[in-house]
Amino acid sequence: MTGPLRVERRLDTPKWLKLAVPLVSILLAAIIVGILLAATGHNPFSTYHQMYSASVTADGALTATFVYATPMLFTGLCAAFAFRMRTWNIGGEGQLYMGAVGASATGLVLGDWPRPLLIIAMVLGGAFAGMLWATIPALLRAYLRTNEILTSLMLNYVAGFFMYYLIYDSSSYWRDLTTPGASVFPTGKTLVANAAWPGITIGTFTLPMGFILGVGLAVGLLVLIRSTRYGFEMRVMGDSPQAANYSGIRTKRKIVSVMAISGGIAGIAGSSQIGDFGHVLDPRGLEQAQYGYTGIVVAALALYNPLAVVLVSLLIGGLTNAGFALEGPSFPTGLVGTMEGIILFTVLGGEILARYRIGLRHRAVAPAAVGTGASS
């Protein structure tokens, strides 16, 4: 009838399963990817070793992993926070761009400030810009009932074009017009050395300041959600907007403030791109990285839990890093993408497994009829 499999909904998920499922999922992904690698003529074991080395053990590999993980941590938190209240802020990408614009402006304008103040100003500058950008879809959603998925998504493109305009199509404050080549190869102004964020260096490994900031933010968000009135209101809103309205929660303001905070977090991702890594507004680099969109995947894999976002961002950061290291003439980009896709697929699939009980189908009616032999 419906095939040999049967699927039943679990009433409650046992604790051991919550741990076992992600581990088994990753193992399963490794097996499937291994088969794929073998089929395309690569030795799975040496490839895995290469990936591990490229993301953890090789010279500078772990640092690179954190470089990828840091922006994903912020954009992951951005999505996870808003999604908790079922406010679908898909605009992390654009809010990150605007954050980068804001932070680089702050860094350029306040270049002669003392270093600690300058850095704090850059963080806030990026957060503020991201916040403002997120407020647009938030206000539209709260007061005109537009769909925030569409508006926040479309504003990503607007922010992208705005960033390109600043560097390529105008003589804006951000653009470097001092060198003679600047009109042929447009670039942004490089920030003063003081505006570079300090990292913690242990041997060859450097932990970016942005990552530490992100972990602190994750802890803060968890406390906010779990044990404050603000977080309680978010939980009620996420579960039942009517009940929220009934209980006196200012639902419209709530939507705007949650979206603004979410956008501010993505804005700090932009700050970190400027302060930690780039030190210059680089539209092309930011756009190609697509950290805003990856953040949505990170949030989903972390089940919107801020602390889990920290771990997942490292996992995806490592994968991205390893992927770039593997790419080459004998290892096409498509294969790297396929591998990453399989891993995400199994992990998300595993979550469904944890919520349902799946097994082989038994016959519905047991063949032994108990009553038949009794008195005939």
């Binding site: 049967r6 009433l11 039942s240 209980s247 519905a364 009616v365």
Partner: protein, 536 residues
């Protein structure tokens, strides 16, 4: 064969089945045909964390029998059905269908065995036609091509055969709730239902539709099908069932034939003590000063049309004002306007002399207006939050639930434990999710929250709708006590008896207007009925 099945599945094995001999169902009701046992459940047990929802429940129903499962909310009726339907797996117990031992793993298994259920909340796709809904997800016979015309013809034939008049090409959203329910039943019959479970089927029906349903149920039984009828309404059970199995606190108490019993007896069995179905005594006292006052209030409905027109009324401290009227004549809008959930277009509302700001629920709460909304699950509570969280839905802003700047889970739990005890909520603990509670217990949580805020005004909209005998009496008693403590109570109800029993005065609504306000003592039902119909 049938005889042997009957013997093997006889009543001796079921200790709780009471004095009913399984071999004589025919004597019990007008439509019962002597037949084999269609369903036999022995010692069905289902435990949930903290609760035994079904504790060795046994019952049996013959072919051609209408068998009622009667019990209060939380007595285990729904759990038992979910066990029969394969939605849950029993921890203990055995189930026989037509004499064969079965073990279901999914609803599909149960359907293959001929068991179908019509849920209280119908499960139809509103944008699809009747015919499409009937065949949806049903792959017998298996065909690749889906031809709407063939399907409609087949469904029309089935509707004819089962005497379920319904237009197969109509879309679900065009149908009344009664017609939709008929589609659900037709769907089950079309798929070969031998045993049909109806879960509280009359909740959404008008009296006429209920009559029609009962006659269909009798027809189905006469055709040899078994109908399991779940209800907590005694008159219905007496009207339609051959036998009744009474469930109380997860146990099957006894099974009795409906012939030779009466409502009082059944109510006693159901609640576990002597109950009188008579009115809650209300102490006549002089009402205090006016607390809630509406002057010339108008408001728009959801569709933008004027739903409240120039309403002027007042409620005194210690008084219950009953709002009577046929549903949809502005009662819901009235409740929402007073509680700030709906903006007024004209007029003013004052609470103890203070004017209520327009459309601001928080201002209404702060002025001491408590609200038990009609839409309990959708508005009154947050279903996926715990009892403790729901109890502080209106008090979390204050200092009582905090330690320093953060909310205190310990204080919330302590508060919840106290409320659970004081309002007799049946729940495993303060962290239980609200949606896991029965309707009566949800209403108790709601009342607990609203009354613990020491309100000046209580607006209660259809506070007993869908509740069983015990819970209804409880809620009515709480409302009467609340008024006696000096709260101004405004109660909306479609049940005129309830209004006359509880209220001091009655305001009759028709078409958004107050047609008249009269004292409840000595009120003429005939006259109120005419006013409700807009004829007086």
């Amino acid at each position: 064969m049938t005889d042997s099945v009957l013997d093997a599945g006889g009543g001796q094995a079921a200790p709780a089945a009471g004095p009913t001999p399984a071999s004589s169902p025919s004597a019990n009701g007008p439509g019962a045909v002597p037949g084999a046992l269609a369903v036999k459940a022995i010692d069905m047990t289902k435990r949930f964390p903290g609760v035994v929802a079904n504790d060795h429940v046994s019952f049996e129903a013959a072919e051609g029998e209408v068998h009622a499962l009667l019990g209060e909310n939380g007595a285990g009726k729904t759990t038992l059905c979910n066990l029969l339907m394969g939605l849950y797996r029993p921890d203990e117990g055995r189930l026989f269908i037509s004499g064969r031992a079965v073990r279901f793993h999914s609803p599909r298994d149960a359907q293959d065995a001929g068991i179908f259920m019509v849920h209280q909340h119908l499960r139809l796709v509103e944008s699809m036609t009747v015919a499409e809904n009937v065949v949806l997800g049903w792959s017998k016979p298996r065909r690749l091509r889906f031809s709407p015309r063939t399907v409609e013809k087949a469904v029309a034939e089935a509707a004819d055969r089962f005497q379920m008049p319904v237009d197969p090409s109509a879309r679900i959203w065009q149908l009344s709730l009664g017609e939709r329910q008929r589609v659900e039943i037709l769907k089950a019959l079309y798929r070969g239902a031998k045993i049909l479970i109806l879960d509280e089927p009359t909740t959404v029906l008008t009296p006429q539709e209920t009559e029609q349903l009962f006659s269909s149920v009798r027809d189905m039984a006469a055709a040899g099908r078994t109908v399991i009828f779940i209800s907590h309404k005694l008159p219905e059970v007496l009207a339609v069932a051959d036998r009744v199995t009474i469930l109380r606190q997860g146990r099957s108490i006894t099974t009795v034939p409906t012939a030779g019993t009466d409502a009082d007896h059944l109510a006693g069995l159901m609640v576990g003590r002597e109950v009188s179905l008579e009115a809650t005594a209300k102490l006549a006292e002089e009402p205090g000063p006016v607390v809630l006052e509406l002057e010339g209030v108008s408001a728009r409905g959801d569709l933008g049309t004027e739903a409240l027109k120039d309403v002027t009324l007042s409620v005194c401290s210690g008084e219950i004002l009953g709002i009577a009227g046929v549903a949809g004549n502005g009662q819901r809008e009235l409740a929402e306007v007073i509680t700030g959930l709906r903006a007024t277009t004209e007029g003013k509302i004052t609470i103890g002399g203070t004017r209520l700001s327009v459309g601001d629920p928080r201002a209404a709460i702060d002025l001491g207006i408590a609200y038990v909304p009609e839409d309990r699950m959708g508005t009154g509570i947050s279903p996926n939050l715990s009892i403790a969280d729901n109890l502080m839905l209106k008090s979390y802003r204050g200092k009582t639930m905090r330690s320093g700047p953060v909310l205190s889970g310990r204080k919330a739990n302590a508060n919840a434990r106290e409320m659970i005890k004081r309002f007799d909520v049946r729940a495993p603990g303060p962290r239980t999710l609200i949606r896991q509670l029965s309707g009566g217990n949800i209403q108790k949580v709601l009342l607990a929250r609203e009354l613990s805020s020491e309100p000046r005004v209580l607006v209660a909209a259809s506070p007993t709708r869908g509740l069983d005998v015990g819970a209804t009496q409880y809620v009515r008693r709480v409302l009467a006590e609340t008024a006696q403590r000096g709260v101004a109570v405004l109660m909306v109800s479609e049940d005129l008896d309830e209004i006359l029993e509880l209220s001091d005065r009655v305001a009759v609504f028709y078409n958004g207007r107050v047609v008249g306000i009269l004292p409840a003592a000595g009120a003429n039902r005939q006259q109120i009925g005419l006013m409700m119909a807009g004829a007086a």
